[in-house]
């Protein structure tokens, strides 16, 4: 990809944090299922996926720290920022909910990440491109796993269908944020760092709708609501996640395994 203009480090860092933080917080939410999933096998599957996402977050946050040039490593970025410095989309910080909410969100996010990593594999940032090449394989599996559950629950019993419908109603308004462009997207696209996220919307919608069709479900109608997590303005749930996520590092600064 041609570098059309000089990359502004500050803006590039924001773009990277949106990716890294979204993976990080989704990993944290999925990890809440560890020991609580409906079956032992599913418990392991969810933990595997959470660890994949955590690995992606580590790689991208490390890259963000390097680009930023303030000698912050992955741990400092993950554990020592305040709420407003996190750039994850609000969708991932919503409570884990029941299994239907978890799977609906996992499907939404896995499709998004799969499409994003596919594009980032051609990033002008060689390191980000390498991370994407590896992550896209993981995202493909996450998509398969979650889509399978969306179909099973949607096309399952009356109760499972009711729960999946409720999950979609609850989460759908938050998907708009994924594709709402701003100056950071435009800069990333202009410099070849990565796509404007709005470019992924048509493909995302197509995949989502085909899964929902198979499940006998329909996508909820769009709403004017637009969440703002990736601009640092989070929901009331974010502080609680960070309290848990950051506890050890705040209590024992610099602690390592």
């Amino acid at each position: 990809m041609q570098t059309a203009s000089e990359i502004d480090a500050g803006i590039a860092v924001q773009y990277l944090l949106r990716i890294g933080d979204t993976a990080l917080i989704q990993a944290q939410r999925l990890a809440e299922w560890c020991g609580h999933a409906p079956a032992l096998e599913e418990d392991i599957a969810l933990s595997n996926i959470a660890l994949d996402l955590l690995g992606q977050a580590r790689a991208v946050l490390t890259r963000a720290g390097t680009v930023e040039g303030r000698a912050r490593d992955e741990d400092q970025l993950a554990f020592l920022r305040d709420e407003r410095e996190y750039r994850n989309v609000t969708l991932v910080e919503l409570p884990r909910g029941d299994f239907a909410v978890t799977m609906a969100r996992s499907a939404m996010l896995a499709i998004f990440f799969k499409l994003l990593w596919q594009r980032l594999a051609g990033s002008s940032d060689a390191e980000l491109a390498a991370i994407a090449g590896k992550a896209v394989k993981e995202a493909r599996y996450h998509r398969q796993h979650a889509a399978d559950w969306v179909v099973r629950l949607g096309d399952g019993t009356g109760e499972s269908r009711r729960r999946m419908e409720a999950a979609l109603q609850e989460l759908w308004p938050y998907t708009a944020e994924l594709f709402a462009d701003d100056e950071i997207d435009r800069h990333a696209a202009a410099t070849g760092l990565g796509p404007r996220w709005s470019e992924l919307e048509a493909a995302w919608r197509g995949e989502m709708e085909s899964i929902l069709a198979e499940a006998g479900l329909q996508a909820p109608a769009a709403t004017p609501f637009l969440s703002t997590g990736k601009r640092g303005l989070h929901s009331e749930h974010m502080g609680y996640i960070l309290a848990e996520l950051q506890y050890l590092q705040r209590a024992y600064p610099g602690g390592v395994w």
Partner: protein, 96 residues
């Protein structure tokens, strides 16, 4: 899914990178074949153990009867001549 709502038991066979055959490595519960393959991937190949996975419903496996062990397997005990270890190979093909 059975009437009790219990998922069926499946046996899992994994072929490793260097292996030629699928080896039995354990079992798991799953609602159907598709889920069983995914679960097997997540439970039994998370440390790079495999390049191929087979699953088969445990109740589809026909096993020999443990009570028949004496008549089934013991008679082979004194039939060493069934091993190809009594032929003298010509030097040209020795150590084959």
């Amino acid at each position: 899914m059975s009437e009790q709502g219990e998922w069926a038991l499946w046996e899992v066979f994994v072929r490793s990178k260097s292996g030629l055959d699928h080896k039995h490595c354990g079992s798991l519960h799953a609602a159907d074949a598709k889920m069983a393959i995914q679960m097997a991937r997540d439970v039994y190949t998370r440390r790079q153990e495999g390049t191929s996975v087979w699953v088969v419903r445990s109740d589809h496996i026909v096993a020999s009867d443990p009570g028949e062990k004496a008549s089934f397997f013991d008679p082979m005990e004194d039939k060493v001549y069934r091993h190809p270890s009594f032929y003298r190979l010509p030097p040209a093909v020795d150590h084959m």
